[in-house]
Every structure is written in structure tokens, then in C-alpha cells.
Subunit: 216 residues, 2 copies
DNA sequence: GTCTATATTTCGATAGAC
DNA sequence: GTCTATCGAAATATAGAC
């Protein structure tokens, strides 16, 4: 019983670590598989193989395939929202939008799988995260539209439609993740180098910032 | 035998029409189902139900699910290529790129399912149309990059990176199809009106044309 | 907490009567 | 050319020994 008690104590602490680590590994594998095969094309077996675990263990940590998917999409959404911070507290559109493009491009480079899972989810009608679209994203969008409109009213940038400017920022930056395979194919099948990523960033920023009248 | 011969003649003509019509119905249903569920998530049963045909009939016209999918993607690719004509024979960037944006936005509105199927295919590594990317798309892209560079050399537009300008055009215009559900959700759950589509088009054209220095 | 074996369901595809 | 019935494969999910 002493032995049991001790084993129990040790096991309890260990279990937390094991759980955390296994969940991390499973989520990383799931993100990649969901991105490459879509929700329907992904199989628990593929995810298990990539995570290096038996398929049954996935069901031990995540009851269903949909639960696992839901967690992956949720994590990506959080990253997206954090990126939005670059937009805030900027003195003007040149700094705010420039920083936002930088942040979004960095996410496209560092989290290409997550971006694809998000894109796929939205493209299929957002069956899992529709409530996020209607609440959090909606509020964030309205807030940024107001901020951009303020800049316009203060004469800090050209009078463009703030909503469509936002869509353009999203579309353009995420393109390098979601259509990364196409970009790579058109780059002789090679991934973009550091230099090419800088060139992409600069090109996007130059055209957009000049497009809203804050560059000559 | 006379009777048989006559029936045979009539049947032969009818068969062609029936085949054409059934293929049309099946392809339309498949485009929608593939767009909404992805290749993996789509089932022959769903497509058959939407087409109003027994599942076995789909296999009569298209041997496998992949054959059907391949035809859908191919048709979309053709539409994309035709849209590129707007780019050509333009006296300058203002007309050429303006017309290209118009054409691409119209496709996003009229063929949202096709655009999504294409996006999904590329996002998943283009398992079916990789050869198109490496040949036709590659050649088209190189040609347009050269055309844009010529405009730059002639001083008709600001010196931007032509390749990234193209990516921006693709990303921005296709966003209204691929992320149409998100756009709609942020539009109070309603589809864009004629007026809103015009507004979107004008916004995109204004920012990009000013961004490349052909608008004040 | 792990993992093998398996139950259950669903899907792609086909056979064969009409 | 149509359509019911069904096969065989594959996937999700679970049972139960360790």
C-alpha cells in the first residue's frame, strides 16, 4: 500500500506531463495531416502514424476525430487574433498596416499548415467555427474598420473602403501559406529563401501602402 | 430486325443527348459537393443525390471518383485561362490589369464552387493537376511577368516586382469566392448585392492601380 | 496510460436483372 | 441506359488484456 501510494503520487505528476506532451505531438501531427488532406481526407491512422502512436491512443486523448479537429482550428484562430495586435496603438496607417502585413506574412511562413486548415474550414462553410466568425472575428473586424476610417477622416491616408482593404490584406498575406505549393512550384519547385520572403513582404507592403496613399 | 434497326438508329442519337445532359448534371453536382466537402469529404452518394441519379449511374459515366474530380478541376482551369485574355493586347497596365481584375472578380462571383475546388486542390499539394502548374500555368505566368516588366521599363507604371503583383491579383480576387462564406458572414449573413460587388471591384482596382502608380 | 484485436459503419465500385 | 442489391475495402471507434 505504501508502494502503491508512492507509485500513485509519482504517476499522477508523470501523467500530467505525459498527457501534455502527447497532446502536443498529436496536435502537431493533426495540423499537418488536416492541412494536407482536408478534414474528410484525413484519417486517424495517418495522424497516429505521423505522431508515432497507436491509433487507439488518439482516441484516448481526443474522443473523436472532430474533437481533435476542433482543437486544431481553435489554436490557429488564437494565433490569428494575436497577430492583430500589430495593428493597434500605431500612430498611423503606414506603421499599423505595415506591421500587420509583416506579422501576417511571418505567420504564413511559420504556420503554413494552420493557415491551410483555417482556409479549408472557412471554404467548407465554417461548420465548426461559425460562432467565432459571428462573434470574435466580427467584433475585431468592426473595430479595425473604425480605426481605418478614423485615419481616413484625419487625412492620414486615401479614402478607400476599409472593409475591402482588410480583405485584401488577409487574402494577400495568407496566399503565401494557402497557395504555398503553387508559389513554390512557380519558384522552380524550391521553397522561398529568406531573401525571397523579404522581397515578397516588401512588394506587398509597397503596393498596398502606396495604394492607400501613404507612399509616394 | 427492321424494328430493331430503327430502334437502334433512334437510340443512338438519343444516347448522345442523354449522355451529354447527364454528364452536365453530374459535373454541376460534383463541382458543388467537391467545393463544400473537399475531395476526401465528398461521397459519390452525395453527388448522386444532388444530381438526382442513382449512385451506380455516376460510375456508368465516370469510372471512378477521381476521374470525376479530375474533369471538374480541368474545367475550372480552362475558365481561369480564358480570363487571362483580358490581360493581353492592352495598351498599358491601367487597362490590362483593370480588365483582369474585373474578369477575375466576375469569375469569383459566377463560379465560386469551381474556385474553391481549385483552391482546395492546390492547398493539398495539387495531387491531380501538378503537371498543369509546371507547364501551362508556369508559361502563362512567365509571359505576364515579361509583359509587366515591359510596362515598367517603358515607364508606364511603378517598378514593382511583377511576380508578387500577380500573386496579389490572384489572392485578392479569389478571396471573394474562396472565403465567400466569411465575407457573407461579415455582411450580416447576406450575399453581396450587385452594388456591393461593384464596390468590392472598385476598391480592389483603386488600391492596386494606385499601388502600381497609374492612379493619382 | 498503452496497444492489439475487433466491432460497426460507410464508402467506392460492381454485378446483373430490366 | 437504369437501378437494386451487394461485395470488399477502409475508416471510426471501442473492448479488454497488459
Amino acid at each position: 500500500m505504501n508502494e502503491n501510494a508512492q507509485v500513485s503520487r509519482i504517476t499522477k505528476a508523470k501523467r500530467t506531463d505525459i498527457r501534455r506532451e502527447n497532446e502536443r505531438v498529436i496536435l502537431a501531427a493533426a495540423e499537418k495531416v488536416f492541412a494536407e488532406a482536408g478534414f474528410g481526407g484525413a484519417t486517424m491512422q495517418l495522424i497516429a502514424d505521423m505522431a508515432g502512436l497507436p491509433k487507439a491512443n488518439l482516441h484516448y486523448y481526443f474522443a473523436t476525430k472532430e474533437d481533435l479537429y476542433r482543437k486544431v482550428v481553435h489554436d490557429i484562430f488564437e494565433i490569428w487574433l494575436r497577430a492583430a495586435d500589430s495593428f493597434d496603438n500605431a500612430p498611423g496607417p503606414k506603421e499599423g498596416i505595415g506591421a500587420y502585413v509583416d506579422a501576417k506574412m511571418d505567420i504564413s511562413r511559420r504556420h503554413p499548415f494552420g493557415s491551410k486548415v483555417w482556409a479549408s474550414e472557412v471554404m467548407h462553410g465554417a461548420p465548426v467555427i461559425q460562432d467565432y466568425l459571428e462573434t470574435t472575428l466580427r467584433e475585431w473586424t468592426d473595430g479595425r474598420i473604425a480605426a481605418i476610417q478614423r485615419w481616413i477622416d484625419e487625412g492620414k491616408m486615401a479614402p478607400v473602403n476599409p472593409r475591402h482593404l482588410l480583405y485584401m490584406l488577409w487574402a494577400t498575406t495568407q496566399h503565401y501559406a494557402d497557395f504555398g505549393h503553387q508559389v513554390e512550384t512557380l519558384n522552380d519547385g524550391r521553397a522561398l529563401t529568406d531573401r525571397q520572403w523579404r522581397e515578397a513582404k516588401d512588394s506587398v507592403k509597397t503596393i498596398i501602402l502606396r495604394g492607400i496613399g501613404v507612399l509616394s
